[in-house]
Structure formats: structure tokens, C-alpha cells
Symmetry: D2
Subunit: 463 residues, 4 copies
Amino acid sequence: MQRRFSLDVSAPLLRTQGYIDGRWVSAASVFPVLDPATGEEIARVSDCGPTEAKQAVDAAYRAFHSWKLRSAKDRSVVLRKWFDLLTLHKEDLARLITFECGKPLQESRGEIAYAASFLEWFSEEARRVYGDVVPSPARDRKILLLKQPTGVASIITPWNFPSAMITRKVGAALAAGCTVVVKPAEDTPLSALALAELAEQAGVPAGVFNVVPCSREKTPSVGQVLCTDPLVAKISFTGSTATGKILLKMAADTVKKASMELGGHAPFIVFDSADVEMAVSGAMNSKFRNSGQTCVCSNRFLVQSKIHDVFVEKLCRAMDAELVLGHGSEPSTTQGPLINNRAAEKVEAQISDAVSHMICTREETFGPLLPVIRFDTEEEALAVANASNVGLAGYFFSQDVSQIWRVAEALEVGMVGVNEGLLSTPEATFGGVKQSGLGREGSKYGVDEYLEVKYMCFGGLKP
Amino acid sequence: MQRRFSLDVSAPLLRTQGYIDGRWVSAASVFPVLDPATGEEIARVSDCGPTEAKQAVDAAYRAFHSWKLRSAKDRSVVLRKWFDLLTLHKEDLARLITFECGKPLQESRGEIAYAASFLEWFSEEARRVYGDVVPSPARDRKILLLKQPTGVASIITPWNFPSAMITRKVGAALAAGCTVVVKPAEDTPLSALALAELAEQAGVPAGVFNVVPCSREKTPSVGQVLCTDPLVAKISFTGSTATGKILLKMAADTVKKASMELGGHAPFIVFDSADVEMAVSGAMNSKFRNSGQTCVCSNRFLVQSKIHDVFVEKLCRAMDAELVLGHGSEPSTTQGPLINNRAAEKVEAQISDAVSHMICTREETFGPLLPVIRFDTEEEALAVANASNVGLAGYFFSQDVSQIWRVAEALEVGMVGVNEGLLSTPEATFGGVKQSGLGREGSKYGVDEYLEVKYMCFGGLKP
Amino acid sequence: MQRRFSLDVSAPLLRTQGYIDGRWVSAASVFPVLDPATGEEIARVSDCGPTEAKQAVDAAYRAFHSWKLRSAKDRSVVLRKWFDLLTLHKEDLARLITFECGKPLQESRGEIAYAASFLEWFSEEARRVYGDVVPSPARDRKILLLKQPTGVASIITPWNFPSAMITRKVGAALAAGCTVVVKPAEDTPLSALALAELAEQAGVPAGVFNVVPCSREKTPSVGQVLCTDPLVAKISFTGSTATGKILLKMAADTVKKASMELGGHAPFIVFDSADVEMAVSGAMNSKFRNSGQTCVCSNRFLVQSKIHDVFVEKLCRAMDAELVLGHGSEPSTTQGPLINNRAAEKVEAQISDAVSHMICTREETFGPLLPVIRFDTEEEALAVANASNVGLAGYFFSQDVSQIWRVAEALEVGMVGVNEGLLSTPEATFGGVKQSGLGREGSKYGVDEYLEVKYMCFGGLKP
Amino acid sequence: MQRRFSLDVSAPLLRTQGYIDGRWVSAASVFPVLDPATGEEIARVSDCGPTEAKQAVDAAYRAFHSWKLRSAKDRSVVLRKWFDLLTLHKEDLARLITFECGKPLQESRGEIAYAASFLEWFSEEARRVYGDVVPSPARDRKILLLKQPTGVASIITPWNFPSAMITRKVGAALAAGCTVVVKPAEDTPLSALALAELAEQAGVPAGVFNVVPCSREKTPSVGQVLCTDPLVAKISFTGSTATGKILLKMAADTVKKASMELGGHAPFIVFDSADVEMAVSGAMNSKFRNSGQTCVCSNRFLVQSKIHDVFVEKLCRAMDAELVLGHGSEPSTTQGPLINNRAAEKVEAQISDAVSHMICTREETFGPLLPVIRFDTEEEALAVANASNVGLAGYFFSQDVSQIWRVAEALEVGMVGVNEGLLSTPEATFGGVKQSGLGREGSKYGVDEYLEVKYMCFGGLKP
């Protein structure tokens, strides 16, 4: 890179302090945020520690007692206003993403639209948290099943979708009546803090939405507070399976509810009956978004014998024609940098290993590596695809209607793309099976993760 | 006790071996089952260890692949048949409970009816596991949200409801298409094994329902297998909060789904506006069922000043008049023994401590101790009631309609009895908040604990 | 027919009086029930008139006030018992159908299983009539949406499914808490009366289920009472569109709720991409069940050019091989008689007219006539298929997945068989669009037809 | 009235032509719109006849085929935009209501907020029209229950809520994918036309929303077209029971779906246990809104003996203190004029008759008359309250919790206010039982009125 790229975002959205109880809070030290494309520092952010985390939890707990009593309609209006503000500031917010996470600006704009869509969706869901009146076997009592918010939720989010992974969780939490403490990834705190600024403008009350940015060094101690403090009722995490397990253990001691969106290892299967152009296009979408750094990116390509050669040939041609490396802020770029050196080294190691152990067929890649495996029968493809202890997304291409239902049902994953390489939408569930996680985000089910069912036995009646 | 009591149950229902993959299996050793009322041994049961547990898990995993493919209607019919058999053999099954757990026969009969009711309920729920067709924002794709069974479920159950705690979980699991391995409490394996006998008669296929009885000594190693084996996708536990936390940590390493029904510390509040007769009757029901050995038994009685004296007086009179100690098989008995010596010692310790520290107001009692606390205002009562890190059931008596809604909503528990001391019914949810657990059993929500939502993006369509 | 066929059914099930308020009631006169295969009289049945109809309505209205107060669980148990009795007596009940309606015994047995399945389904649905607790915009009020039974329902049913058309409606009605007066078709009263006998045995209380059989002559006056009496809240009719309109007008004067399952004119489309064997098999099922006398029988066959000849050839071969005319009680029979002379004359007229006006492509046939039309494009087929003012069922055969979704959505019918010729099952909805009717039967929606939503604003609360 | 009142509304919102297929259309003649407070003409509006009605139906039918294919999200966005525009222009829209319908400006503003709230609600509901995936009893077929829009809906609305009665129906219809032809009441066409102007601004496509204003003279012929044209699939009417019956009969000939919100005769019961201040306040709200001209206004006051005198005294005092007659545009006015002379004459006749026949206790008043009846027992009150062939709203005041449930369940009405005199909110259902109507508006059920369930049997699969 020869010329300089500058993050040119309006001041109110470029926040560098923690946001606790409705106030911007400095910590004792700061940590740098780097542009992954250039390695240059773009900001210094307050490095919150366990003290700030505890303050945030306490604030969230206090705020919970009034936020939960606000009517669902009130909460809906606040979330809608927040949605409107994200939409209004989408260009600045997209630049923040591109500069701290590296993805091309076009994708960053897409992420902001996607992030905002969860605030819109959950502003609508808030009013639809229905309880039940259940027919009682006894005439002197009524059975009501009420839905109540779980309490304070700790939200721990990754760097690859610095904005959307927050709103997908927080939208649901706030709609339900919960309050939150967000710990964004150390690589990408700026997007989270910009969301806080807009939350405040939208009228989210003090203490309802808190952000505690911190460095890699402080992450364990902050995570400890967020997952063990008795005032926290719920944790929601998106990130690696390894980290997820640590958090689950921490949460166990106080029996917190946990939602986990962990790693995947998505198979991408092309059957002989597939429309090959559609399959190639799906492969490009599924593999190269965010340079392969999404948990639903295809990790293994399984291609049936008869279609194998033509698929590979066309795919290579598409890669040559469409992939352009560069800084995310340049219009032509389709492939930005990986997030940091460790990420790049991992991909390189998988490539070196490809001819010997093909570890990339077992380990998540999180980068633009595309291994292709040839297979003969559907059974074989399913066996390979399911031979994984994770199961987030899976994709397959087929025009055989029986096969479509068979394979869609048999794939051990939480999300199946049938003739599609991009799936995510707020109307649908997001989440995996096996060690890919617990719970579902988005959709009409997403808000359930932040609710408790309370059985109210309205009894002692004289019928 | 001077005269002898004999467990007189027809041979096919008095099973003493483990039940794995549709076969009755002996273990290397046996352990005794004692009548808690007399301390006499009533049976010797195969003491299954990790080997048997692993066999059961493997069998359940194999069976899962065919059971999940059976139609919901098929599974419904099998569960219904099982229900019919429980109803047919209710007298024998009740005697098993009374002899291994101690509760009066009348209560045991009630438990069998309650246990059977879950098989009936979930046989009906099986056919109602609806997925969703969601309006798609794109015309070339359909969004289907399918419901699929989670997989093998480990079911670990307590001695206080030796039959019902199994069916409440297993009914839901089997309805969903899951298969199970049940580890019954060491005190009460006979009821679980009788259920296995009837499951087989009902046509539950081999491997779908497995029971691995074991002694207190083997429990940790068996539990280890059930909570860590990679083939197990789900654990469901009812028991103490302390044990629940251990299991949660074990389950974390393979990110298993977990349902937890843990301890409670139920407040029982009598407001001045209460109907005092109703409150006394509710108190008797809520406190003395199974001699106070249920997780929803009232543990703390909070009585408002004006009604305090009359309530206490009438309650004492009711206790004098209604409580009769004895062997559970005697018709007059209302209070059987506590389950074992440790249980009795705990209650005695709480009594000794009552005048000094009132530890019984913070620690679960699980016995017929009834501490009464006087209070003045609703706020005060709520503060005391909610000052607990658990929240399973809560009860209050009031005829003030605003207060009823206020207190029902404010109590931090999963189940609220308004003018009622007994709540449980298959139509309603069972489960708690805070450290009382995760998930809900029974009701239209119970089967969700054994289901995954799979998003099928039916795409690539030419509209 | 040379040899005699005798209806040999056990006496308690061969009922010939009306059933009103739990009593068997004779009318002033009787009318004959004929075996349509032989024209012989098989029974004489009380010819109820407006007086008996009014008595039945009054009885149903009185019974409504206690039946609606029974718990859902109670009603469920009664319906289940009724289901058990239908299953127990299935052979006798099937013979009744064959002798009064003519269909082959194998189909009659199928109808009884189908009829019984609705009692089972709705016995389960009864307990699942859930109301809603809706988030209130105001803190001082709770919004509850209760479900309550509509009231007395008049049930008017056809001869082609003498048993199932009754249980599909009555199962839902009784589950909801409604009471009913059934007027069976004049050709087939015996099945309805046998259902009454079994209802009584099952414990359906007096007045809850009433049957008023009557002759063609008395039908208008009885129908008048059932559709206009102010005590009737709901009418449900299955029959011709022409009659349906008359009943709707009668019901209008008292604003009764109305469910209508009227005539259809099902298209059966075979696309070039179809599996031709599957299509032929579907055509046989869809056209010749009950000799073409069902409202979902295919009425028009549209076959795409390339597949036309092979389809027609194979279909003709299947018709030659599989269709056997005869008395329904003979095991070899697959095609029984049409219900009466008028029915036969209508089919003959359509045949005579086939070369000139093809009226059979516009008018419902209700007989074993199978007109085939050739088409070229999907648009053309859809235009023809939708050029009808009715829209009950439709069928098409295709292996093209985009076409499947396109055509399934575009067909203006209530039920679409994709690669299937037989659709009905209690889990799915039954009902049409356009002039084919109002409302849906079966499925989780069926019981809604007998329910009112009551908004209970539980207000004036002090939060 | 001495001084002049002038309707001072910005030109684009003061529309006087019909709105058909996205164009403003003049008719052959005009009819006057009068200010009911002064009798002065405030506008002349195109008097559409059957020709224009038919044009509108044709336009709606054409538009239906593209509107139904728009994604739910698209339709949602358009409805939201319409909502925003109503909110933006609320002051002008309120003035239109006050001048054509007479109600005080404060109430008109309330109506606009209420009218807009349905567009907001249904913009959200549009995306939540979920179909079902039903567990199939057969492995080779999938059961999908799709929801599809009914078709063209004729919407016929009353003068007492000139704006809200339109949006409550049209919001649901458009969300579902239906298109509409609206015939506003002859007294109040201006509000409907202003809605059309804003619909166009919001991007509602041509033909989706049509308005055909007409005079009282043309109403029958226009209604005839709207209720009988074969291209219309659905009618929705709010108005008198007498008119409703006529429309139902017209609709019967083409088996149209019908929603009917007809007259009520609301009982308002004050039990001895009531909070009398709350009851008086509820009575004022329930009786005098829109000068008693709403279908849910209390029509009969039943007051229990012990509370009777104090209630009546306090109520009289409240009436003296709070009711101020005047032109609706004057800030002090709480009671505007009745809609026209006929309305006033009817009230006067009921007053004259009060001492003799008390016809006001049986016939809807629609004016500020408040008859009070004393009763002794709950049974007596319920008997009187339910002795009506209509059942829209009902109100009662009680602090006895058993009585609250008993009476709420026993009242034969569609909406019950417990300790509340005003109920309506978009989250709850609106609609009655008996001759008060068919179907429900608002709430999660409102959109069902414009949907058909289509059973798609996705069969012929090779599992």
C-alpha cells in the first residue's frame, strides 16, 4: 500500500471511551485500534477492566428494574428510533467497520443495513411477546403463562461483524425488557461505541445499554466479571468454540442462561443435478464474503464426480475474474485483509498442510482457502459433511426435489442453503447444532433467548 | 414400626437389572434399595458403571437414527400405549414408589397419575411440533424453519418423584424424536425400571429408552459419561443446585444443551386481604406434600401483621388435626419418613438453629419444617421473598386484585400460586429462574427442550 | 346383480330413530334408505321435521351451558372414548357406509379410520385452545384474549362420506365446547345414527350431540330451522355450492357464523417434467375414489404436450387393469354404484356433451368421467386451471423444483397435491377458496371455526 | 352558534374526487358534505355510482396480481410510510374529522393517532404472516400450510370513525397482500379521500387502495357492486346490524368471505364491590365519547343495590361538571353534535319512551342517553346483560377477584372492560358475538380476515 487511507468519520460517532450508565467513561489506560489493511493505528480506546465491567453490570441491574416495567410499546419506539439513526448514519458507520475490521466498504454498508434490520425487527417483536392462557383442568383456577425478561445480559461479540453481532443480540434483549453490558472484540470497539452514541440519541435510558471496550490483555478479567457476577442472568456470546466453552463453565456456577454462536465448518455440496452456474455463484458468495472470515463461510467443498470438473473450472474462472485485493475503502476491492497476523498465519499453515493432512477439512479456516473434495454418492457426501463435531451452516446445490428434502433434513447443521450461498436475514433463525452453539438469534424465536416463562396459577376462584 | 410391611408387586414390574438397548443387563455388582420407613432392604439392583453407561449411550445413538425418522404419529401412538399401561398398572407402580421413596400410598397414586399424564400430554404434543413458513424478503427463496430432534439425551432424576420426573422429561424427548439414557436416583431405581418394562410392552424400540441404575458410589463416574460423551447432545437434570452446576460444567466441554430443574426456596406469603381458610389449606398442601420433600414446597412463610395471629393459630390447629406419621402403605398415614438419615439430620440442624440464625430462611429445607416470618408491607414481603439466589415456586394469598397482579409479576420465581398451594399440571410450565434452573418442562413449551430449529433456505428458485 | 347382499350389522349400531337430547325419538313418519347398488330398501328411518329440529336445537342450547363449562380435559376424555369406540366397531360401521352409500368396503374401512382420526385429533386439540396474554401499552391494564365456544352449531352433511364429514365438524365443535345438531344426508342417515349410539356410550352428555334424519322432502323445512333459529350460533355445511348459497342467505338474518365446504372442480396437471408412473398412479387415486364422487376428485386433466401420449396410454392401461365394478361389499370391487339415478344421469349427460361443449370442464362431474386436455405452456395450464369460480383441490405432477413452488402458489385452490393424488389427513387443513367455501376443517385451525375470541381488558389496576 | 367555523385544511388533503386506480376521478354529479354542528356545507364530493365502483373493483383486481407478489417486507415498508404521513399530517386530518363528523378536536386527534396505529401495527404484522410445517404421518410427503391473500376486498365504513374504521381494515388487508375498494359513509367522505392522498404519497401502488365516495341515494347501487361482483373475494363492513344482514345476503351468492362489525348494546354493570370513583370515571368515558355515537358506548347501566345511590349521585355530578356542548373545533367542547337530524330524533324518541317502555334498554341509542337499572344479584345482572341478540362490548366494575373472572367469562360479548370504560387498542381484538358481527379486527388475529390457508402437500418424495 502506498497511499494513505484515512478514517473520516464525524466526531460524535467516533467514540473512544467506555459507555456505562449513560455516561462516557475513561479507563486508567488505553489500547490501540489498528487498520488491519495498513497496520496503522486509527484510534486509542479506553481499556476497561473488571472495575468498569462491574460498574456496568451494576448500572444494568439498576436500569433493569425500570426498563422491564416500561411498556412493550415504549421499548418498541426506542428501538425503532435507534434503527432510524443507524439508517441515517449508515455511511459513517460503514467506514468505521471498514477501517477497524478491513472488509470492503460495500460489505460494510451491507453490514450496517443488516445490523439496523435487527433493531427494526426486534422493535416490532417487542410488542409481540405473547403469553398464553391455557385451558385449565380445574374450574377454580386459571393458568396463565407470562413472559418476563431474564435480567441483565452480558453480550460478548466478535470482530468480523462489529455492528451486526451486537444488534442481533441487543435488539432481542432490549425488546424483551433486558438490559445489557456489551464487550466488543478488542479489534473492533469503535463500531460498538458508535452504536452507544446512537442509542443515547435514540432515548435508550442510562444503564440499559453499556459498552466496555478492552484490550486482549484485559479480556479474561472482564469476561470473568461478565460471566460470573451474580447480577448477570444471561450471557450471549458469538466467537470461537474454544472460548465459548470457557464462558459456559464460568456461567455454570451461577446457572446463567447462555446463548452461544460458535464456530462452524460449513460443507458446500454440489450434486450432479445442480445448476452449475448457480453453484459457482453460490460458492463465490459463500466463500469470499469478508475474505472468508465469517462463521458461516463454506469451509469444505464436496463436488459429485460428474459435475466436478466443470464446476472447478468455472469456479476458478470466477475467482480470477471477480476477486480483487485491496484496502476496503477502495471501490474496486472485493477482498480486504485478514483481521491480523495470527489469522493470516493460520491460513498459510492450512495451505502448507493441504497436500499432507488436509487439516482444513477438519479445522475452521476463517480465510479465503477453498478445498475441493470429489465424491460419488449422496450417502458419501452426507457422511463426510456430518463427520464434524460442529454444525452451523451447510450448503448444497441440486435440482432433484427428493434429494433436496433428503439432504436438507439430513445435514447436521442449523442452517441449510439449498441452491443459495448467502442465507442471513432477520426473519430467519441464526444458530447451530452440536458444538456450534446453543440457542437461536433473529426470527420470531430470537427474543425467547431473553425471556422466562412464568406460570401464574390464578387460583382460589369461586366459579 | 413393629409390624412388617411388604412390597407386594407383580414380578414383571419388579425389575432389578439395567435396561440397555432393549435388553435387561446385569452389572458386575448390585446395590441395595431400602424402605426409608423401616430401613429394610427391599431389592438389590444391578450397579451400573461407566461401561454400562457408555453402552447405553451408544445404543441410544444408534436408535436415534431410526426413531427420529419415524413419523410423529407413530411416536404418538407408542407414547399413548405407554400411558395406557401406566394407567393399567397404577396400583403396583404406586406401591413401588411408596416402598422405595416412603411417601403415603395416596400420594404415590397421585404421582403415577401425574407421571402418566405426561406421556399422554406428550403423545399429543408429538404431532404438534410445527415448523414455520416465514415470509421471505426475496422472491426467489422460501424460508422454512424446521424442527428437528436434538439427539441423545441424558436424563438424571431425583428420588422424590421416582416416576414423574422421568416421564416429564422422557415424554417430551421421545415425542420430539430424541432417544434417552436415564440415570435414576440411587434411592429409587425400581420405579424407573418398571417404566422400562412398560416401555418395552408399549413398543418403544430397543435403544430409545435406556435405564442405568447405580449406587451413590458409581454416580459420579456414570454422570461423567452421561454429561461428556460426544454422542450425547443434551442433558436434563432434576436435583440439587450444587449437583446441577457440576453437570453444567461437564456438559460445557461439548456444548451440550442443558435443562436444569434445581432447588428452590419457595416463599409463601399471606397478605391481610387473604381468605385465611384458603391460606391455611394452601399452606398444608404446599408444605407437607411428601413430608416437605419437593422442590416446590414452601420453605418460608411470610404473614402480614393483621392476619398473622389468626393464620398461625388456624394453621397449628390444621397441623394437629391432619398430620399423621406412619409407614406410607398404611391408609391413615399422611406423613411418611424422610428419604434417609442425612435428610433428617439436615432438618434437625435447621430446627436447632432456628432461634439463632434462621438458616432455614436461606437454605432449602426439604422436610416438614415451617418457619413463619411476620411482615408489615407488600414491599417488605417482596424484598424478603426475592432475597434469594434461587427462584422456583412462590405462593401468595390475597383478595386484592391489583395486588395479585403486582405480586405475581414481581416475585422472582418461575411458578406462582395465587391463592393455591399446589400448582403442577402437565398443561403448565414447570421450571425456575435464577439458580433454580434452565428451561421449562411440561406444557406446550416442554418439547422445545429437545428440539433444534433448522433454517432451510429453499432458494435458487425462478419465480 | 343377481345375488342378494345383506347388511349384517349388530343391532345397537343399526339405529333408525332420531337422537335428540340423549333420547331416541320417533317421528310421525319414516323414509326409506336404499342400497344404491341394488335399489333395495335396507332400513326405514324416522323422518324428522321442523318440530324435531327445533327440539334438537333447544336441547343443544340447554346442554351448551353446561358443556362449555366442562374442563377442556373432560371434553378431551369424552372425545377420546368416542374415538376408541369407532375403532372398536370399525367393521360394522364400514358395512353401514357400503350399504347406504355404495362405496367398496375397503374404502368404507378407510373412511371409518379417517372419521375416527378426527375424534382423536380434536380430543387432543381440545386441551390446546390457547388464549393470549398480549403486552399492554398501558401499565394499569392487562390484555387477555380468551377463546370461548361459539354456541349451538347446526351441522349439515353429505352422503359421500356419511361418517367422516360428521366427525370432522363435530370433533372440532365438541372440543371447542359447542353443542351440535346434525342433519345427515337423506341417502345416508344410518352412519350418523350409529355415531350417535357410540357418542352416548362414550359419555357425550344428553343434548350435546343430536341427530335429526329426514327425507329429501323435509330437508328444506328442517334446514330452515337449523339455519334461522336464533338459538343457533353457527352453521357448518358440506355439500353443493348451490345449496350452500341458500343456507348462507338463511343464516344472514341472524348473522350466524358459517363454515362452508362446497363444490370443487379440481384440475389435475401433468407437466413434461413429471414422473409419468407417479402421475398415472395419482390420477387413478384422485379420480376413482368413491367412483369419482368426492369434492376433491380431479375433474379436469391437463397434460403437457410432450408427456401427453405416454400419460394417456399408461392411464388407459391402468384403468383397464384396476377398475372393477360391483357391489361394494364384494372384495374385488373398486367401483361401486353412483349414489342414485340423478347422479348417473348427470354423468351420462356430460359424456354425451363431451365432443360438443365439454361442459365437464366447467361443471362438477361427481362421477368416473376423465376428460383430458392437452396444453403447451405452464401459463396456459394455469390459466385454464384457474378459469373457474370454484377452487377446492388441485393436483399437479412435476419434478422441476421452481415450477413446483410457482404452480403450487399460483393455483387458485385451497389444497394442492404436488405429485400426490390423495391429500386428506387430519393434520392438514381441508377447505377451498372462491366459491368452494368458507373456513377450514381439520388441522390446528379446525377448532377456530367454533370459537370466538373475547378481549378481556383486565383494567383499573394499581401497578 | 353565532360565529363561523371554518375548515382550514391544506389543499392536497382536501380531496373531493373519487380515487380509482391511482387517479382522481370525477363522477357525473356531486353531493354535499355538511358540518353537523352548523348544517353548513363544507365540500362537494364526486358522487360515484355503480360504474365507478366497477372500475374500482377491476382496478383492484388487476393490482392484486402484482401486489400479492410483492414481498411482505415491501408491503411493510409502504404501510410504515403511510403511518408516518398520517402522523405528520395529524392536525389537518383531525380537523377534517371534526368538521365532517362533529366530534371535538381532542377526540379527532385521538382518532388520527388510533387510525395511524393500525397502519403501524399491520406494517409489522405483514412480515409475520407465518405458515406452518406440519409433521406428516407419511414419510414421502411434507405438509406445508401456506397463507395467501384472499383477493379484492370491499371495505364499507361508517361515519363515526371516518378515518380509523378504514385503516383498521385496510391496514390488515394490504399487509396480507389484498387490494381494496373503500366506500366511506356518505356523511364523511373527506377523511377517506385524505387517506387516499397520503396512500399515494406513501407509495401504495395504483389500484391497491381505491375510494368511491357516494351519496345516500347511490349507496345501494354501489354497495350492490361491491358485494356481488365476482372479482371481489371479501367484504368487510362496519355499521348497523340491519345493513350488515343485507350485505351478507348479497355476498352469499358468490360465497364471499365476510367480516362484520355491527351494532352493540353494551351493558355497564357496577357491582357493590366496585371502586365507585373508578366506575364513575369509566361511565363517563364509556358513555360520552363521540357524544355516545360509538358502537361500544355503554347503552344500559346496571347498578347493584348497595352502591346504586352513591354511584348515581356521583355520576350526575360528573356529568354536570364535565360535559360541555359546542362546536367540535372549540377547545372547551366535550360534546359535539349528533351526526344528523335522524340521529337526534331517535334519541329524543327513546327519551320520551323511557318511562313507559324503556326501549332504550333493548335498542341501540347512539347518543348521550344514560338509562340506569338497579339490580340485586350477580345472576340477575348477567341475565339482563345477556338478554340481547347482540353482543359487542360490555363493562363491569368489581373488586372481587372471583366475580371478575366469572362475569368476564359469562358476559356474552366480544370485548369486556373490567374496571375500564375505554378498551380499544391495536394490540387487542375488536369484534362481537351474536348479531354484533363476524370476525375480529386488530391484534394478531386481524390479518387472518384477509388470508386463506392453502394446504400444499409436497409429496411424491423418495425419503
